[in-house]
Symmetry: C2
Subunit: 561 residues, 2 copies
């Protein structure tokens, strides 16, 4: 039994290792074009940012052994060949054509089962000047070494990061930590497309507050240079951003050419088509990792989900199936992602509201803001946005942004989506509570409570954007801030709102609009008191009472104070 | 509509507040025997331990407003009466008899709907000397104030904490932080009964390493004193522990006497019996919080689950049902709990292995050890124990102990249990991955992988206890440590094990027992390499190969090094 694995980053080595555990006698070979194996590529930004200094930590086991060909041979009984490019697959002869990049020799290797784990490559837009020195991606050990050297040398003052996705925002932090002035440029209207606009805006504000300039809705038109070196980036609107370094992180594209040339089916997103066994259109060829398309577990449509954890899980499935035949399935993704952005985390699982609407769902959603622990334990703010199917109540997605513990709530929500739980299930979920870890009612559960209130018609919510839109369109909603006078003094919108503290509201109802059908929008810092105020007003005959979701903490626009 | 709530801690105020939001016109009264309302009682140990200094933080909203009767009246329109004892319920007349403890006057209050949220009281065993000065519980603001004063005064050198449950271990840390020498005494054979013995033992070792003495399987026989003051605690085996302070935390008992006297049904565990609407045997009386019994969602049996988060969730359900009639249900608990113990967290959800066996399940379980983040991001060790139904594969429980992020994994598992997920579902779950937050394959998922391997017969595991039992019984298993020689030099069992590093194993098979049926137990630091070694041996004809689960990191007994 000869198993050949093309690709030595995440999915490939995992498939090889799992196949080995399943079959100690198979002949297993990994073919890797680059010099390294099993690179912890998601760790590149943290190496560049100086979270640790030894690059080899990205290449080694926890006990410090480098995962090189010798390690693979001795510890795993796997023949790993680096600097080896696979140039073609001959499916009839069951042979791959290889090119040894060091010896500059071609050779062939026979397989019984072939695993394609060819990964994805960064998209570099074909703009004028894109061959200038000083333009990099952050997709390889080589990129990481290059950027870390720049960070260490401290010769560069200004960099432009192009692309506001996961790698873009992580790179932004990494280079900022090296004392480099950063401008982050994104062609779309927001960063991190797995978030809805308002959530992304909160994150954008945080990045700005950390001294990086953020420019959205403005694509790069041209790289500017002198003597072959980058001197600046020119945007389509004409703005020129002087810089000595540009990091391009506008996305990745599946490396599916080898598969395509061999006549394997390619999906609509450009990834290799596989079934749930991770088998390609050729039964002797499997594929896993960033080069494939997999089903989205909610919408059912095929998506490209280049995440390191999924690559490993897919590789594990392939490693079993190549040995046992098709026994185990990889069901798909809910596109769960998370990143650290300075002092904030940002993450999402399932569908955002905009994606859910695109997919045709009847959507209900809510934004909440609350500390992630009791105030006496130093809780940090966490903004959550929960999205559910309004018809069935099923949880479709959760987004989280803030200095609080984002990853825990996204992990909870991911499990809830896998369990097909509804909002009604979530409202009474039994989560671990102790003051060092969470509030008595965890943010995730509390958000389900508010969403349930909306779904049952007990609360009518408006997002900050919707409130702002009303104001910009010249609407005349009665804005009711129900915080204390001291809080109002320290922070406020300053758009003509009215202050009546919740504790005084029942006695000051006469100050409210006489027209009981006038739209009244209640809020406080996080809109818990805002919600209570709305209940009071509705019980006293006002018919058009709204709550601004998440209160001032979810207002991503400028405030008077 | 008159709603009367007996009890002002967690469930009571939540029920009252929710009822108010549902009905702005009802007359709502909270009757509270103590002087305070809405105490964050789970925060007491952190106040005692000096995590914060202002006791009023336990009694106030995040914006700093004390939740006193004035606050309840103004902000919530709720009449809260403190220092008011309810002495009887006249169900025919729909009236409660009250006693004003300040004015020493009796009065009656009529209700349409009555909510019992009378909580639970600490059990203080009726031992000789239990009335001595210097014996306390940690169940009230008064207790918290008393212990904080002791901590601040620094006059006391030695304290004994009696009971190794959640409050016991938290108290242990709190008093240790005040510089007091602690002895923790538990009558059972382990701390934290929601953990299986081995997991609890790891935690016990940690507490010992932090300079607290831990004594298990030894109940307290007597409190010793002079001049009315505590001078020591005498254990049943005769040991005397000199101390000036004893904190009793051996458990709580539901306060159900008021209900019982009124003829309401009481459950087998001593809690007030309620249905899923949280309605007692009297349709006009509801109950919630630590005074009730609720269904365990896995076993179906009624349990007493005195957790702060559940009290709030139950109160929310009651608040709705008293206003709308029985519309919403509280399904029950999976007894999720977590606590901080010095630098470790410890938590559990669902059933432990021992509880699952008691409940009659055919159980399969596994213990794993792994860092909770990539090593280059400073991952901390996390021990997980996963318990599943061997017949159906359904996840029954998860336990977690270690310096790593316990609460996140327990929260994930809790959601997975709510979603009725199986181990097969978990192995490909799509969780949020980024190096600052988790390994590429999260500890929870990795544990599911190992358990799946066991369930499919790919791995035969032994717990550290099982291995030790074999050694103690004079068994002669061949113990194979497959770490590197340098690792072996730094740390090892020293019980006659054999060292063959995994990388050398394939070439040194001749050193292994000639008898292919000899029991061989493989392990490494965390038993990942141990598992690989076992696969190699099995493929080479050995028939009785085991893996010691969690490796050296899960070995809770003394080692040579």
């Amino acid at each position: 039994m000869k198993i050949v694995v093309v690709g030595g980053s995440a999915a490939g080595p995992k498939a090889a290792a799992k196949a080995r555990r399943m079959d100690q006698h198979a002949e297993i070979t990994i073919l890797q074009e680059g010099p390294d194996l099993s690179m912890a590529s998601c760790g590149y930004p943290y190496f560049v940012g100086g979270f640790f200094d030894d690059r080899n930590q990205l290449l080694s086991t926890p006990t410090g052994v480098i995962r090189d060909p010798k390690y693979y041979l001795k510890a795993k009984g796997i023949n790993a060949m680096t600097r080896t490019r696979v140039t073609a697959i001959d499916r009839k002869r069951h042979v791959v054509s290889c090119h040894d990049l060091d010896e500059e020799q071609d050779f062939e290797l026979a397989y019984d089962k072939l695993v394609l784990a060819t990964g994805a490559s960064p998209v570099v837009p074909p703009l004028p000047g894109s061959d200038l020195e000083g333009i990099s991606t952050l997709q390889s050990m080589r990129d990481a070494d290059y950027l870390r050297q720049i960070a260490d040398e401290k010769k560069i003052d200004r960099a432009v990061v192009i692309g506001g996705g996961l790698i873009g925002v992580e790179t932004c932090e990494a280079l900022h930590l090296a004392g480099i002035q950063i401008t982050l440029v994104e062609m779309m209207s927001q960063l991190l497309l797995f978030l809805d606009w308002e959530m992304a805006k909160v994150l954008e504000n945080h990045i700005r507050s950390k001294a990086a300039i953020v420019i959205t809705e403005n694509p790069v038109a041209e790289f500017l240079g002198e003597n072959g070196k980058l001197t600046g980036v020119k945007l389509r609107n004409g703005i020129e951003l002087p810089c000595e370094l540009a990091v391009v992180a506008v996305g990745v594209r599946p490396n599916s050419k080898l598969a395509e040339d061999a006549g394997l089916k390619i999906g609509e997103r450009g990834g290799i088509e596989v079934d749930t066994f991770m088998q390609t259109s050729d039964p002797d060829i499997y594929a896993a990792g960033d080069c494939v398309e997999i089903p989205h577990l909610i919408t059912g449509e095929k998506v490209h989900a280049p995440f390191g954890d999924l690559a490993n899980l897919e590789g594990r499935v392939v490693g079993q199936n190549v040995v046992t035949g098709n026994k185990v399935e990889f069901p798909g993704t809910i596109q769960t992602g998370v990143c650290k952005v300075f002092d904030y985390g940002a993450g999402a699982t399932g569908l955002s509201e905009s994606r859910a609407r695109e997919a045709g769902y009847n959507v209900v959603s809510v934004i909440t803001a609350a500390p992630d622990k009791p105030h006496f334990m130093g809780g940090e703010l966490l903004l959550l946005k929960m999205v559910a199917n309004a018809d069935t109540g099923r949880l479709l997605g959760l987004q989280a942004v803030g200095p609080g513990d984002v990853s825990k709530r996204i992990a909870q929500a991911a499990m809830a989506i896998h369990g097909k739980l509804t909002v009604a299930d979530l409202v009474n979920a039994d989560l671990p509570y102790a003051p060092p870890f969470s509030p008595a009612i965890d943010n995730f559960i509390m958000t389900a409570h508010v969403l349930e209130n909306k779904m049952l018609g007990r609360m009518s919510g408006l997002s900050a954007s919707e409130v702002r839109e009303r104001l910009q369109k010249g609407g005349q909603p009665y804005l009711l801030d129900v915080r204390g006078a001291d809080e109002f003094e320290r922070m406020r919108l300053g758009v003509g709102e009215n202050l009546i503290p919740l504790g005084a509201l029942r006695n000051r109802l006469n100050e409210l609009p006489a027209d009981k059908d006038q739209e009244i929008i209640c809020y406080c810092k996080i809109s818990l008191r805002g919600y209570e105020a709305a209940s009071v007003l509705e019980a006293n005959g006002w018919t058009n009472v709204k709550v601004m979701e998440g209160g001032l903490m979810a207002w991503p626009f400028p405030r008077e104070k």
